[in-house]
């Protein structure tokens, strides 16, 4: 039975290379475009006018309203981490390392990363949807006709708010995560409360906390830049806004993992 014309093998290989080439070019074009957008946005941070009222609003929206989601995820992550380390440590009689590993794991890695991912889901999506809707309903054009630079008015307050609030959110997340481990350790695994706290305190170093805050600030930048970039470039009505929202969350999440690896490499070289 005939199934249609067969493509010449050389043609199909050429087609494959062309598709790979197109995707590679599109990828680098996107990186260039995001970099230019971020550079322009950051260059406006120190140039007046600075919209303090909008900055204050964004600090509340991005920072304060993300507290419950960051706190809850950190609590459960800390608790689960304690159970895992206890179960794993029992294989070579090392159950006592639970407080130390929970503290280091939460502060160095899970606090900033899980917090970053949760904020990416909540904030990058909402920023992209809000700015995207403003784009398709001509509100961004309206801003410009009213002598207001949309980058300064919409992007800068969100980026600065992300940069400021993420370290605070992560600090709260780290603390609640350690507390989750403490609750599971003392209530479920039979650890002595004061010994648990002493162990946590003794083994946690200032460098661990600093690395957590540095990671959080970088993640805050990534989340807000991705939300603003995809929203700002949104088009084609509701579908375009939906796509911008999805792209913002996916891009922010992937970049958080990539940045986390690079930061860990540079902060804690093997």
């Amino acid at each position: 039975m005939r199934t249609g014309p067969r493509m010449h093998p050389i043609r199909s290989i050429q087609g494959l290379f062309a598709a790979v080439g197109r995707s590679t070019l599109a990828f680098f074009r996107a990186i260039g475009s995001v970099t230019v957008f971020a550079a322009i946005a950051l260059s406006h941070v120190f140039r007046p006018p600075i919209y303090m009222r909008e900055l204050g609003q964004q600090i509340i929206v991005i920072g304060f309203f993300s507290l419950p989601v960051v706190g809850l995820t950190a609590l459960f992550t800390g608790g689960a981490l304690a159970l895992q380390i206890y179960a794993g440590g029992a294989r070579f009689n090392a159950e006592s390392v639970v407080p130390t590993i929970v503290a280091i794991g939460m502060v160095r890695e899970l606090g900033p990363v899980i917090g970053g991912l949760m904020v990416a889901g909540r904030v990058a999506a909402s920023i992209a949807a809000e700015i995207g809707t403003m784009r398709v309903t001509e509100q961004i054009d309206a801003l410009e006709t009213l002598s207001t630079n949309p980058l300064k008015y919409l992007v800068v307050p969100r980026v600065v708010a992300g940069l400021i609030t993420m370290p605070f959110l992560t600090l709260v997340g780290d603390t609640i995560g350690i507390m989750g481990g403490f609750l599971v350790g003392t209530q479920r695994l039979g650890f002595n409360a004061s010994a648990y706290i002493r162990n946590t305190w003794d083994f946690l170093e200032a460098g661990d906390i600093t690395s957590s805050l540095i990671k959080a600030a970088v993640f805050g930048l990534i989340i807000t830049i991705m939300g603003c970039y995809h929203g700002y470039r949104s088009d084609h009505g509701a579908r375009g806004v939906g796509r911008a929202t999805t792209n913002a969350v996916v891009a922010a999440s992937v970049l958080i993992f990539a940045a986390n690896y690079l930061l860990t490499e540079s902060l804690f070289p093997a």
Binding site: P49, Q139, D141, A142, E144, L146, S147
Partner: protein, 248 residues
Amino acid sequence: MTAIKISDVHKHFGSNRVLRGINLEVVNGESMVIIGGSGTGKSVLLKCILGLVKPDRGTITVDGAPPSGEHRDRFLAKFGMLFQGGALFDSLLVWQNVAFRLLRGKNRRKSEEAKEIAVEKLRRVGLGADVADRYPAELSGGMQKRVGLARAIAADPEIIFFDEPTTGLDPIMAGVINELIREIVVELGATAVTITHDMTSVRAIADRVAMIHDGVIRWSGPADAMESSGNRFLDEFMSGRAGTSGAE
């Protein structure tokens, strides 16, 4: 004296050549209405004048100055614009929308003073002070258009643009908006450029009319010369016939 001069302006998006050499002059204090079918480039032309879209070729000057450059703020301060969908800022109260320009920039006013001006402008477009403290989403389409109009005139601009001011409104509300536009333009002594495909608006608002089709101006002249123009593009547009010009 010429307020806006457009010379040989071209603009394309991908393979779509939207503007193909627009030439047009708008005189100070006149109400120019640009008509044409959907997708003929009317909105793009307005955005080119405002500097929101950069033309591929050609020049645009407003009072002799180009739209972009070092004095962009001063340039934009001359304009007020009513957008097709209102383009009101959802997150701000109605009075904050109207007073947006007054609350920012070099000529910034105090909040109370800006609100007073906003309420006065709202009154001018037939809205009560109670509307001032509502959000745009709480208003009907007609009321949103009026708020957009109040925002456009809030800083007493020299030039006002109206982008499809009656689209989506019932005939009575459209008549009210047309009347308001005419009154306000006369009252402020402003130059007005309106783009529309609503012939009732054209007859109510225009001193002069320009017909755009396929990216070029096909006819321009005084509003009362439209009926006897003898221009087939204009005749087909006015009668709503799809003829040889292929108007949409």
